[in-house]
Amino acid sequence: METGRHAQQPAGPQPLSVSSLAGLSARLRVDVGGQPAWMLEIHDGTFLSRPAAGAEDADAVLQCDSEETVAAFKRGELNPIVAMLQGRMHPEGDAALAIRVIQGLQAVFHPPPASARALQVEDGARKER
């Protein structure tokens, strides 16, 4: 897999483990403004992103209307379904795969608390501060 090749490059980016992508191996290209921008390579729950080398083959393509849309998603300010309803993102090819990947990536950028009880503890600590 491509992920493996890139993972072996010592100076390159290291793959991230994403539990919600466990069991999934696929390639998702992200185009911005109609131009290939990023390639996300997923191999059994690990994922690696790198600049796309042109219109590379992929299982799915996520079309984004602007860099700002991508940035807002990464900041956790843009829900992916909202982005699709607004016409700012849309999947092509294997749409289910694209949705699964971007849903999963939400948790990478914004890891949730471990549980409701942990959240209450966090909230309590925040209030005390």
């Binding site: 069991g23 309803l85 607004q86 849309h90 939400q106 549980s115």
Partner: protein, 683 residues
């Protein structure tokens, strides 16, 4: 919704008009062409020589097609009309309408035919709340002989394109035809009203441009073929009681009509109901799929895969989203797109996650489709994690809910989700967080079933052991904490202060379905369920007569919901109370006959002995998916159908009222099986 409306639909796309075929939006009527939770056409009015043709009859040909027969009135009863008008309409990417005028006179006639058109692009929530306040720009223009009605708010775009096969004078308000029809001649035009949005990937993969099918006698032939295939794939019901067969057929057709093709996952899942709930609902889609499993199993696999795809991954209070939770509702309209509503998706459902696990197991039991179960292992584990880590908020061992979105979130997150549904016997509404009893039953059942799958499919016996231990501990704890000994039934809920909410409600029947109730306690619950306080003679009331909040017209505090009764009957059956289950089946199926074979979502909780017929609930959705599924589940129950390994157990307990019953070609892991049953005196 007013009574004299005519609806045609296909999934989340539907057209509601008056009986003439006209659409005039008003504060009181939900008329229009709707798609993706948006009204793409709010005005569609036909006049001929400035007169509105009068209705002769409406022919509801199929769920997706309707004929309106009209005539131009002469203004006096002494002169016959000499012009007949026919509007044949079918839904699909908007709708297609064939307008035919026939001149019955011996003289030629000159006419001005006008179709007024407008679109307000209201979000369905704006229609429902009668609060239309568009923040974007509406526009209209004529382009290449077509009328374009559009709405734009930033990148959010929706458009309606209206084209005609006959030349028309097209303005921004209407299409006008100046025509002459010879003696005994006819004139015809086709109109395509196409709804276009820039949402992600369309269901059919493309945005259809307006097209003409002039001369095609049956528009949308693929829908007709698909419906035939759907019906022929389902088991055949043979009964001496014709009305039962009609109810069964109606259920199959309505389920076909409610199929929602989300486009991302192959296949369809049931939308919840017309007109307000033509969307993906976790709970509704899951329960309907459970009810329909022995008949149309394909709904279950699509429901499971679709809900798994959008299972919550993050913590988001606005959407009441917590990792592992299964969604409550997904909407596609403007208010959702701009986060004025949280439905993208909204996760404010405390039971969908357990129901997801229950359906996953029940689906495997019927279909033997282990590949699908294997593919959803991660989601099943995440669902169990949600129950333990998030559903049980305070670590007391019970799942409870309290909305995090206090502005637009749901106050009640069980199936009885109206504000006053969880109340004490004196009528006081319970404080939050609320741990309703059926949620605990669902958790018990979900863990027992997930344990089975863990052993059978996922090869994790240690996890299975742990799940079974958890389930047993929960059962013991629940039977202690929820039981009200002085009244002899389980509390509706524990409130925010862990007090038992002591109203007698139908929820106790769900406990039988889940298997969490101890045998001796179940017996006492059965007495209550079959008492005059809960059983109206048609079905089980949501709340018993005599409770402080009881109202026979209260949405969740006294009405009868057919799906609820079908689940209660399933519970009775599970605990061996087959005669009682059969009585409920007879009540609901006889009510269906009086509702023209289509059960509404709910009806009034008046006693059958008093009214002799079931009284309608004023704003009930119809068709409603889980009401449509109720007759199917009741048939399963009276025939005693249950898988055992690769075999189908058939153990009928038919009421006298049903005589003999045959259900042929029941699909499942055994291939196809036939079930026969005949009434006998039940003991």
């Amino acid at each position: 919704m007013r009574v004299d409306t005519v609806s045609i639909m296909d999934g989340n796309e539907f057209v509601v008009s008056d009986a003439r075929g006209d659409i005039e939006d008003s504060p009181t009527d939900t008329l229009g062409l709707f798609r993706d939770d948006t009204r793409f056409l709010s005005r569609w009015v036909l006049t001929i020589n400035n007169l509105r043709p009068k209705l002769l009859s409406t022919d509801d040909l199929a769920y997706y097609r309707v004929n309106f027969f009209l005539a131009l009135a002469t203004g006096t009863i002494y002169l016959d009309s000499r012009l007949s008008v026919q509007r044949q309409r079918s839904v699909g990417d908007g709708f297609h309408e064939e307008l035919t005028l026939v001149n019955h006179d011996k003289q030629p006639v000159e006419l001005i035919v006008r179709l007024e058109a407008a679109a307000d692009f209201a979000d369905l929530f704006e229609v429902k709340d009668d609060d239309l306040n568009k923040k974007g720009q509406l526009y209209r223009r004529v382009e290449g002989g077509s009328l374009i009605l559009g709405y734009r708010r930033g990148t959010f775009q929706r458009k309606t394109v209206i084209t005609s096969s006959s030349p028309a004078q097209v303005s921004e308000d209407d299409l006008v035809y100046q025509i002459a029809i010879p003696p005994n001649g006819r004139w015809c035009t086709c109109l395509d009203v196409t709804a276009i949005s820039n949402i992600a990937q369309r269901r059919n993969g493309v945005e259809r441009e307006a097209k003409h099918d002039h001369g095609v006698t049956k528009p949308r032939p693929e829908l007709e073929a698909n419906l035939k295939e759907w019906i022929s794939a389902a088991p055949k019901l043979v009964s001496a009681r014709m009305s039962l067969e009609r109810t069964y057929q109606r259920s199959l057709v309505d389920l076909a009509a409610l199929r929602f093709h989300a486009g991302v996952i192959p296949g369809a899942l049931p939308a919840a109901g017309l007109p307000w709930f033509m969307a993906i609902f976790g709970r509704d889609s899951l329960i309907t799929s459970l009810q329909a499993l022995p008949f149309v199993p394909g709904l279950a696999s699509t429901t499971l895969r679709t809900l798994a795809l959008v299972q919550a991954r993050v913590f988001d209070p606005f959407r009441d989203e917590e990792p592992g939770k299964i969604l409550h509702e997904l909407r596609l309209g403007e208010l959702t797109a701009f986060e004025e509503r949280p439905h993208s998706p909204y996760y404010g459902s405390a039971d969908s996650t357990m129901l997801f696990l229950i359906l996953l197991d029940e689906y495997e039991r019927w279909s033997g489709d282990r590949a699908l179960v294997a593919s959803l292992e991660r989601e099943a584990r995440a669902a169990i994690d949600w129950i333990d880590r998030w559903g049980d908020r305070d670590g007391d061992g019970f799942v409870e809910y309290e909305r995090r979105n206090s502005e637009t979130g749901l106050e009640n997150q069980g199936w009885k989700d109206s504000w006053d549904s969880i109340a004490f016997a004196d009528g006081t509404v319970a404080s939050t967080p609320r741990a309703t009893c059926e949620l605990q039953g669902y958790v018990y059942d979900a863990k027992v079933r997930t344990a089975r799958l863990a052993r059978l499919v996922w090869g994790d016996p240690a996890w299975a052991d742990r799940l079974e231990r958890d389930a047993e501990e929960l059962k013991e704890h629940f039977n202690d904490a929820f039981w009200i000994p002085e009244r002899g039934f389980f509390a509706l809920a524990l409130d925010g202060d862990k007090r038992k909410v002591d109203s007698l409600t139908s929820n106790i029947g769900h406990l039988l379905w889940s298997g969490i109730a101890d045998r001796d306690k179940a017996q006492s619950c059965v007495r209550h369920l079959m008492s005059e306080a809960l059983f109206s003679g048609w079905g089980v009331r949501t709340m018993a007569v005599g409770e402080g909040s009881f109202n026979p017209l209260g949405y969740h505090v006294g009405t009868v919901w057919p799906h609820d009764t079908s689940i209660v009957a399933w519970g009775l059956w599970r605990y061996g109370y087959r005669q009682e289950a059969a009585r409920l089946a007879v009540g609901i199926l006889e009510a269906a006959e009086l509702f023209h074979h289509r059960l509404p979502e709910a009806f009034a909780g008046y006693a059958r002995a008093v009214t002799k017929y079931p009284v309608e609930y004023p704003t009930a959705c119809s068709p409603q998916a889980w009401a449509t599924g109720a007759p199917l589940l009741l048939l399963r129950i009276v025939l005693g159908l249950d898988p055992l390994g690769d075999h189908l157990i058939i153990d009928p307990a038919l009421p006298d009222a049903f005589g003999e019953l045959q259900l042929l070609d029941i699909p499942g892991r055994w291939g196809r099986m036939d079930a026969f049953g005949r009434a006998r005196h039940l003991t």
